[in-house]
């Protein structure tokens, strides 16, 4: 077995996230590649949620899979919730009351452990989860020195008794785990890789937030909305260290207008929101278009319409982001497929927005943001922040007409000039004009055509994965990358390749070469209308031949894409 898939399933508030954090942390320090992702209901207590933890001996299996090798049901409804994913090979470790046997196709794979009783013996029901952590650690041979120091770091502040109880609970779990191994019920054959111990653990929200820090972000105003809030929370925690103005806005309309005001005054600003919040920001987006003020939008997609499925995933807002905002102006859209891309693309987005004085989007989704990745490093040596602010003189004109369409951007209070920006159509000085014969067309050309022309020369190209002499090409964007990539590797097809787009707008014209080469072009998207397929048609005049779409609020699993590829 090259990778083991373990699922924890129970109610919100039962501490699944704590187990996830402890286990992934300790397994990483032991030299395993670990990835985890969660699906959960929009509630604080109760319901049924599950977390998938994948442990492997080779790099980055950071995709969702249906297969469950070991399952820990923590509530009576857990097995029913995962009915479709439990196979005869799935080993189920849980206590009597949580094992609904009608959902266990192979009774001999049930291992009953009286977690509650053990926990109570130690000091209370609260230690139940740590007993399961202990089982994990034994199964994967995590050394006691690692687990002890990790638990100490985590629980020392809560006092000696609580720390000792946790160590004891973990110890009891380990004993059970060792017994399971001795009985031969589970055999884990994964090689440890020492280099992994020095890797970074981070989730998608952290990748975006740290990318913005790398870009010199110093202002964020946002209104909390799942699944975008993680970015705001992380930046708030780090605000003092990095000098970031944090403002929880009264509404999303305020947030975007504040972001634009901050850029106008020389800050590097971003908002983070989801589709519904962005809907309120669209007039502000249009404002950044006419003011030619840079602006960064992080849009964390979740299924709509309306409130939709607040805590679930989808790629439904691409067309919305591309077409939102009244009037016509240039914009760029990025969609990271993994933690590294999230970090570097976000940092790049600020430079692009600053250089061309346009709104730039980072389009993620719940699956991406709530995934915990392990990556070798984030390299800061090539990070360059190109601030494009000029010192003004008395003759300064904010909208000076130039050959390439970019007017040097001054800010108030830096230089002797005045910086006038206006949401009305304006003259070069930024004052209201209704000169429809000369200035209006000039300003439209500047904001739209000239900037788009520059943007097209400054594009992050898509990445081709798989054989170069393909006849079938799968096209994906953003968070579907890992699942498509892994499915393709497992399929071992010489005629199928995958083109992963990290920049989804605008597209460079030479992208067409990749697409034309394929006899069959198939888009794979987490939406119901093949939104990126439409971008290909509109921008490059290429119509995909087929599409593989998923729109139930869950990410693609590796298995379903593999199955799709097999039928090609």
């Amino acid at each position: 077995m090259k990778d083991i898939s373990i699922v924890l399933c129970g109610e919100a508030g039962q501490g699944i996230a704590t187990v996830e954090q402890l286990v992934t942390g300790m397994l990483k320090l032991s030299g395993y590649h670990v990835y985890s992702t969660s699906e959960f209901m929009s509630r604080i207590r109760g319901g049924t949620n599950s977390t998938l933890i994948r442990i492997s001996d080779e790099k980055s299996r950071s995709a969702f899979i249906d297969r469950i090798d070991i399952l820990f049901p923590l509530s009576s409804k857990a097995l029913k919730h995962l009915e479709n994913r439990i196979s005869p090979e799935t080993i189920i470790i849980g206590e009597e009351g949580n094992i609904a046997e009608e959902y266990c196709p192979n009774k001999s794979n049930i291992i009953k452990v009286d977690f509650t009783k053990i926990a109570k013996e130690i000091g209370g029901k609260i230690y139940t989860n740590i007993v399961s952590v202990g089982i994990f650690l034994a199964l994967f041979g995590v050394e006691e020195t690692i687990s002890k120091s990790y638990l100490t770091k985590r629980f020392a502040s809560k006092g000696d008794t609580i720390l000792q109880n946790n160590v004891n609970a973990c110890q009891r779990g380990s004993e059970i785990g060792n017994k399971i191994l001795e009985d031969g019920k589970i055999k884990i054959d994964l090689k440890k890789d020492d280099s992994v111990t020095n890797y970074l653990t981070l989730n998608g929200s952290q990748a975006i937030a740290m990318g913005s820090i790398a870009a010199g972000l110093n202002f964020i105003s946002s209104y909390p909305m799942s699944p975008s809030t993680g970015v705001l929370v992380f930046l708030s925690q780090k605000a003092e260290d990095f000098g970031i103005v944090i403002d929880q806005a009264e509404d999303e309309i305020a947030a975007v207008n504040k972001g634009i005001g901050a850029w106008y005054a020389g800050a590097r600003a971003m908002i983070t929101t989801s589709g519904g919040g962005f809907a309120l920001m669209t007039e502000g987006l249009s404002l950044s278009g006419i003011l030619e003020t840079p602006m960064i939008f992080h849009i964390a997609q979740r299924p709509g319409p309306g409130t939709g499925l607040p805590t679930r995933t989808g790629q439904e807002d691409l067309q919305f982001v591309l077409n939102s905002g009244h009037g016509e102006f240039a914009r760029a859209v990025f969609a990271p497929g993994n933690a590294e891309e999230g970090f570097y693309l976000t940092q790049h987005a600020f430079n692009l927005a600053d250089k061309y004085q346009i709104p730039v989007f980072i389009l993620t989704d719940q699956f991406y943001l709530d995934s915990h990745y392990i990556i070798p490093d984030l390299d800061l040596s090539n990070i360059k922040n190109e601030k494009q602010i000029v010192k003004t003189n008395a003759n300064y004109k904010r909208y000076l007409l130039t050959d390439n369409g970019i007017s040097p951007r001054g800010i108030p209070g830096y230089g002797s000039g005045l910086v006038n920006v206006d949401s009305d159509e304006h003259d070069e000085e930024g004052h209201i004009t209704e000169d429809v014969h000369y200035l209006r067309p000039k300003m439209v050309e500047k904001r739209l055509f000239k900037k788009l022309k520059l943007l097209k020369k400054d594009i992050i190209k898509p990445e081709l994965i798989g054989p170069t002499d393909y006849s079938i090409l799968l096209v994906g964007w953003g968070s579907t990358c890992s699942a498509i990539k892994e499915a393709l590797e497992l399929s071992d097809r010489k005629d199928v390749a995958f083109l992963h787009f990290k920049q989804v707008f605008p597209l460079s014209d030479d992208t067409a070469e990749y697409l034309k080469k394929a006899k069959k072009l198939i888009v794979v998207e987490n939406n119901a209308t093949a939104q990126f397929g439409k971008v290909l048609t509109l921008e490059l005049g290429i119509r995909p031949n087929d599409q593989f779409l998923k729109y139930n609020g869950m990410p693609f699993s590796v298995e379903e894409i593999k199955e799709f590829i097999a039928k090609l």
């Binding site: 942390g25 890797y199 970074l200 952290q206 740290m210 820090i213 790398a214 870009a215 010199g216 110093n218 202002f219 105003s221 780090k238 605000a239 003092e240 260290d241 990095f242 000098g243 970031i244 103005v245 403002d247 806005a249 009264e250 309309i253 305020a254 207008n257 504040k258 972001g259 634009i260 005001g261 901050a262 106008y264 005054a265 020389g266 800050a267 590097r268 600003a269 502000g284 404002l287 003011l291 490093d377 984030l378 800061l380 990070i383 922040n385 601030k387 602010i389 800010i411 108030p412 209070g413 230089g415 002797s416 005045l418 910086v419 006038n420 920006v421 206006d422 949401s423 004052h431 209201i432």
Partner: protein
């Protein structure tokens, strides 16, 4: 007083109707700025949409003429990004209290160090004469054909109820007194709000220059602006409208609370990404 450093070129095409109260407001704002020795390049005037919102275009300063109702939001951010700037919001009653009501409420609570001059003519001018939030009960318009049935919005009472930092009302029919209050508002540290009563000569035939002279009076010299209960009582009086500084409540501003300025007073544009600190953060993710 020579206010010409704020003067736009003579040929500037001003879009206001002859006799509009905005001309007088513009004049005294220039005067206040000159007397307070504020330099045009260190001043940002933010506005939204409407006839009042065009004011920033008619004097020399940095202009942020944004969206309808959103001037306060942008102004608060401009001040937070660069506290060295003097930031003034000038917008009308529709922009300030209708479209922008939520920002008005929350920035009173947030207390950024900006000044909000609301041109209050009790009517929508630029859209040709519909009711505004401050239109008086019974005011007949092309839309409110039977007369306004809403209670008029009372920005002073609202601001005092929310414990705003500086709350005043002036009438542009008395420029001398208006100038004095506006100067105090601009000098005040915190969110200083001035409701400026002004006539709309084209669309409000009820609240005219004459009306604004006859239906106002000044708060007595004995009025204690630190007394919130009294201030609220005066703000909610029926009949003639009191003028003057109703309430004054000095407290730390939004910027005072920002950790970014605790040890480093540089405005944000002078700062760069802290990559060594980020490297530390990255390294902390290895455990």
């Amino acid at each position: 007083m020579d206010t010409s450093i704020f003067d736009m070129p003579h040929e500037t095409d001003v879009a206001w109707c002859p006799g509009c109260g905005n001309f007088s407001i513009l004049k005294i704002v220039k005067q206040a700025l000159t007397e307070l020795n504020i330099k045009p390049e260190e001043l940002v005037m933010a506005s939204g949409i409407g006839q009042a919102a065009k004011t920033p275009h008619y004097l020399k300063n940095n202009v942020f003429n944004g969206l309808h109702g959103r001037a306060i939001a942008a102004a608060m951010a401009i001040k937070a990004a660069n506290p060295d700037l003097t930031v003034i919001v000038e917008s009308g009653d529709g922009c300030s209290f209708g479209e922008g009501g939520n920002h008005f409420i929350h920035n009173i609570l947030r207390n950024p160090n900006i000044t909000h001059l609301a041109h209050d003519n009790m009517v929508y001018g630029l859209t040709k004469g519909q009711a505004s939030p401050t239109s008086q009960f019974g005011f007949i318009t092309p839309v409110q054909v039977q007369g306004v049935t809403n209670e008029p919005f009372n920005p002073l009472a609202l601001a005092i109820a929310l414990d705003a930092a500086f709350v005043a009302r002036v009438s542009i029919a008395d420029q001398e007194k208006a100038l004095e209050v506006i100067k105090q508002a601009i000098s005040f540290k915190g969110y200083s709000f001035v409701d400026i009563l002004q006539p709309c000569v084209s669309f409000n035939k009820v609240n005219t220059w004459k009306w604004f002279r006859e239906n106002v009076y000044y708060l007595e010299g004995s009025h204690d602006p630190s007394n919130r209960t009294e201030a609220f009582k005066r703000a909610t009086e029926k009949g003639k409208l009191p003028l003057g500084i109703f309430y004054r409540n000095e407290k730390p501003s939004f910027e005072d609370y920002l950790p970014v300025y605790k040890t480093n007073k540089d405005p944000l544009f002078k700062r760069d990404a802290n990559l060594p600190q980020l490297q530390k953060l990255i390294d902390s993710l290895r455990q």
